[in-house]
Symmetry: C2
Subunit: 409 residues, 2 copies
């Protein structure tokens, strides 16, 4: 049951049956020499599943892609994605533009319009410069390739305020055949809950039907993209797509060997978690990645509420930035999640250093936990001692850099 | 129906039947020459009502005071309050210390222990320096007076990271008799929802029973302290107390003249709103006070959810700080409140300048709304056009100063 894992891989180019092509078409209108558009194309029609933002305000490409997946029952040829403009809050013209992006992309590879999904990320409330976008799609289609260099360019093209591309590849061997799962993603700001301002594209060469892909993706997303938080803001454009080319000839479905199903899910989980972790680690101007682990809750929902209250508390996040661990702020935030916790049962640890046991502070340990929080990554573990449910949230600190970065557009 | 209003008044000393006394007893252990304790004492037993934090983690003085109000059926002699230490997350010793504060205070004025309420604000998780506190209470009791100077000192003594005292006085004349309602408060950080890290003491010389006071206070709180947000953090210590000495001999109860009841409520509302406004305006290192007004919602709850999502969004708050109004971030935050809004019906205004009408952006107005947000105070008005319910939240921006201020304790 061994899975090979490559961090910072070539991303989708690692997956047989898919090609990618990137282009720079100045969507930001800033004359930067910057990649901002990418095509992902399957050699043959492939199966696909998607998970999308649950924001009431959904960007046009989100509405479009959700509809396409429904109509095509998950059979697509590819995806066109751009950065620099979210095509969100753009009214009916936005819908028309999303469809036009699909049309042009499909034409470029000789597929029907309804075979393309569309993703956008970037600024909200402005119309896409469609002439530039069309040019970008044309260039990207000429660049389509399965070379690692193009895979890396694709990963670069979807970035916004990210500082680096995010890719990962997992593979395993089943009865002599190699199966690959790989992906690339972008994140940076507005991360939480439920995949905010993030796009992720994951593909496999396993032969998997759309319904199974959906189930597998939902499960992986629950434990990865939905368990990270940078600023508590949820975007209009979040999208995770999982595609399967089938060219490995390894069929993964409900009737497949249980070990194979497990291996496949493990590989998808691993890729999604690796990408989610990279997203938090590259949050806008952050300096800390903190694993907020709530244990001993009555329900998973309670544990999640508390983890999010802590992970999104400005006071908690500011104190992480200052490396001045204030467990009182943790207890306060846990309390205002209002799950009915009992203060007298609360245990709080920084990594393995107890700060509070059964509601009683242990101030003599302060020098030890002050050491813990000097690391870039550490754990905050709270046991409610009320049950056995738990939730883990990967959160970041809040810095003056974040505020200054986001104070203008 | 005229109400006289004095801003930045002497606070509680304006109310016949009450005396206050402040003291500095170095609770912070920093050898600062700083007031940090206050006594509020009624000349005779008075009626009182309180509203407290709904945090699961309640500070010892909150639990203590809630209990006292219950046992005494709202008949008390006074309140002892300190800043610099919240006596929160202090386990059983904290409970004992809160009770001891009441005991010492009661003894100092010759009242029974159960006649005193206790309030604390400041650092969480450390035990109160009780020797100092006892000394402070002794000094404060000697300072008890109805002079304006002592009222101002009392207002100063409860401050934490506030930059200035917060007081207000309202009065009206009923059938030749003057009725006064006055108060003082502290706020600064951790403000929201439901009165976070804030203490407010309001008193009147009207003759009002405890049940009526409770009703009146709840109503005023809903429209004031519960409608402000600085950072979305809710504290363990929030308390608002309303006391009535009755010395004006004007009886306000359910059987009183309707006009008198209205006048009294208006005065209480005015004081609570004035204090709440001062709290937001003095939020930690803020530069903007923004009135987030959500209209046309199906229910008040929906409107409130959207107002809070906007008022607590790091991206929105950062953009206010930068005076770079990004209505896209407003729409995004409104959407993730997930009330089922319809983007195509959305109107967004900065003061009276439309930015979006029925979901369609009006970019040509951008220069105008860029002007609006240069002011220290402005309105963001969103009409959902789905119903007639509304909610108004007074919120602040998020600054690099806030982060740097809170990064260490």
């Amino acid at each position: 049951m061994a899975i090979d894992f490559i961090d910072d891989s070539a991303g989708l180019s690692d997956v047989p049956g898919f090609r990618v092509g990137a282009a720079g078409c100045d969507i930001r209108n800033k004359k930067l020499d910057r990649l901002d558009l990418t095509l992902i194309v399957a050699d043959q029609p492939c199966n696909a599943a998607g998970v999308f933002t649950t924001n009431d305000v959904k960007a046009a490409p989100v509405r479009y892609s959700q509809n396409i997946l429904l109509l095509s029952q998950g059979k697509i040829r590819g995806v066109v994605a751009n950065s620099g403009n979210a095509n969100a809050c753009t009214s009916v013209q936005g819908d028309a533009d999303a469809q036009l992006m699909a049309e042009i992309s499909a034409q470029a590879v000789g597929a029907p319009t309804e075979a393309f999904l569309v993703c956008s990320t970037g600024r909200i409330g402005e119309l896409l410069p469609m002439t530039k976008v069309a040019q970008g799609i044309s260039t990207a289609s000429k660049n389509l390739s399965n070379k690692a260099t193009e895979g890396r360019r694709a990963a670069e093209s979807i970035l916004t305020s990210d500082t680096r591309p995010k890719t990962a590849t997992a593979s395993f061997v089943w009865q002599g055949k190699k199966v690959t799962v790989a992906g690339f993603a972008k994140g940076a700001g507005m991360i939480e809950p439920n995949m905010a301002t993030m796009l992720a594209f994951v593909a496999t060469d396993a032969d998997v039907n759309a319904a199974y892909l959906k189930k597998s993706l939902l499960s992986a997303t629950q434990q990865s993209f939905n368990c990270v938080s940078v600023d508590g803001d949820m975007s209009t454009n979040d999208t995770v797509i999982l595609m399967a080319s089938g060219v490995s000839k390894v069929v993964v479905d409900e009737k497949a060997d249980v070990d194979l199903q497990k291996l496949f899910q493990l590989a998808v989980d691993k890729i999604c978690f690796a990408l989610a972790e990279k997203i938090v680690g590259d949050g806008e101007k952050i300096t800390k990645v903190v694993s907020v682990e709530i244990q001993g809750a009555r329900t998973r929902e309670d544990a999640e509420k508390i983890a999010r209250a802590i992970g999104n508390s400005l006071l908690v996040k500011s104190s992480w930035f200052g490396e001045d661990p204030n467990w009182g702020r943790l207890a306060d935030a846990a309390g205002y999640a209002r799950t009915g916790l009992d203060e007298a049962k609360l245990d709080i640890h920084y990594n393995d250093v107890p700060a509070v046991i059964k509601g009683v502070p242990i101030p003599e340990n302060k020098p030890k936990w002050k050491e813990v929080v000097k690391a870039r990554q550490f754990k905050v573990r709270i046991n409610l001692n009320l049950g056995s449910a738990q939730f883990r949230l990967l959160a970041s600190d809040l810095t003056d850099g974040y505020v200054n970065y986001n104070k203008s557009e």
